[in-house]
Symmetry: C2
Subunit: 331 residues, 2 copies
């Protein structure tokens, strides 16, 4: 009897533990690359709160919008993939037409390498190459070139395909948000059409949910083509990220994610706090020299605003169990 | 036996007829305000074609985008509701602050009425009032005023609430498109925030799917407000409707609907023909003096392009059984 009683106790305990584990592991399954630290708990508790119809903070499903910066927030930015694309494309032009090799600015391409590493020392020269690689072609021509780049090129650190430099925890977070009724947008300084080449494949974000920098297009109704002009229509950095959120969504997003690096995301995160609903801000801090990169901002403004405005900061080192799909760059 | 044979024949015939009727009546239920003319058949046959997985012209669901102009395409435009709003708001300012009555441009408001009818004779004066009614306030303040307008004001012709000047056949068409996997957008010259005040309630179109003219907003991160500036960010008319379709959707829409009136929709309709998929264009012609209005364009460009580029033209008189919910303006 006593033996049986102990068995029963163990049986009940194991049932309780299984039930408990099950609940935790469901959560872990969805955000399994996130360590069980404060940030992960804050995310889950926010989502539980705003999706619960009986909560004071309930948000109707058609008001659930999330905006994510791209460079340094969804994928690595040392170097920035679009900057790699620009040099890749200029080099490709030289291969196709070797005469270019000795003319400006193509004769200077080699200056973008230092000990085999890609570095932009001369910003004006770089902008000249941006002009050549981004402008004057039709939308479809540019798209083809961007797709080629993503197929052909590997990321210098780790020598991996570009699809492997996205952050695994962010893929999980975006899926988790979508499962909870969110529409997830990119809001990045990158050029919109460049990001649209991979937004669906890499992030599950449809092209109409990409907000980025835009060139003016010239529309020719006879040939029915859109040609990329040399003027910028919008430079989606700084305050423009707040403005373009409003233009595109009609209201602030309630969930906003950016990163420490250029300070370019602070207005986007701040503007999400103008929502009439309870909002959530997440700032990614690149403090993991071993598994990714270690860098900061000169003036530290992003972290200052995080403290001032009560944003959640992700330490890549402590809060992310795994950084890349397949842990690609471990040094 | 013979009698039974005839009965059986009748029975089979009635079964076939019922089946046939059922099929047609389902279609009629969805587009019941459309007459059974060529245009309706073309719409249905297009939708059947592009939603059929075995068809050469199948379009994947996430590529099904429709753009609708607003003024004269989704609701009446004689007068244009936003122009009514502008005068309504200026009059309201005078009521609140009677001193304004004798100062420019408020002392000229009466010039916008001729025999009790609203007419814009002085475009420059009107633009001055646009400045006063559209600019300098925050996004939220403007929104409140627009919502007030839609609650308080009636449309001059028919003296009906503003929700009754929408075209019933278009409500059915938008629903029919949505049921077939389309995302339906407005793409109109109207100011985006003005349209957003009613897009969901009147048309079932969420605010993020409204493309319109936009003012520049000044973002103040301390108060977290967006203030409407005096500069235009985009004037969404003519070619801009093609460009803004590209900015917002990332590709041409496959289904585009505009109207004869200003010629402002021709580039939007034409650009939809740049899609890599089979596309459909619909141009609404205001030829129904009795139930709506009769008007045309000076140069007739919309109808010329419709012929040149093979667009479908809707005669409101012949192709629409009913124009308004409740047939409000019958003269």
């Amino acid at each position: 009897m006593r033996k049986n009683g102990i068995f029963m106790l163990f049986f009940l305990l194991s049932l309780m533990l299984t039930a408990g584990t099950k609940k935790i592991s469901t959560v872990n399954d969805e955000l399994s690359s996130w360590s069980n630290t404060k940030v992960k708990k804050e995310i889950i508790s926010y989502i539980n709160e705003i999706t619960d119809k009986n909560s004071l903070y309930f948000i109707p499903e058609d008001e659930r919008f999330a905006v994510f910066d791209n460079d340094g927030t969804l994928w690595a930015e040392k170097p920035v993939p679009e900057e790699m694309f620009i040099i890749y494309y200029a080099e490709k032009m030289v291969r196709k037409n070797p005469k270019l090799k000795n003319s400006m600015p193509f004769n200077k391409i080699k200056d973008f390498y230092e000990n085999g590493k890609f570095v932009i020392k001369d910003r004006m020269l770089f902008d000249e190459i941006v002009g050549i690689t981004h402008r004057g072609m039709t939308k479809d021509e540019f798209r083809k070139t961007a797709e080629e780049f993503f197929r052909e090129v590997k990321y210098p650190k780790g020598d991996v395909p570009m699809s492997k430099i996205v952050y695994q925890p962010q893929l999980e977070l975006m899926n988790y948000l979508r499962k909870n009724g969110f529409k997830v947008y990119i809001c990045s300084g990158g050029e919109t059409e460049f990001m649209r080449a991979i937004s669906k494949e890499y992030y599950g974000i449809p092209e109409e949910q990409v907000i980025g920098s835009e060139l003016v297009f010239e529309y020719d109704e006879n040939n029915n083509t859109m040609t990329r002009n040399s003027k910028l229509y919008t430079d989606n950095n700084g305050k423009a990220k707040a403005n373009n959120t409003l233009y595109r969504l009609g209201r602030p997003a309630v969930f906003a994610v950016g990163n420490v690096g250029s300070g370019g995301d602070i207005y986007m995160l701040r503007y999400s706090q103008a929502s009439k609903y309870k909002s959530f801000q997440l700032l990614i801090n690149h403090d993991d020299e071993k598994r990714e990169f270690l860098y900061n901002e000169k003036n530290g403004i992003s972290l200052k605003w995080a403290e001032k405005y009560n944003w959640n900061v992700v330490s890549m080192k402590d809060d992310w169990k795994q950084i890349f799909p397949g842990q690609v760059f471990s040094n």
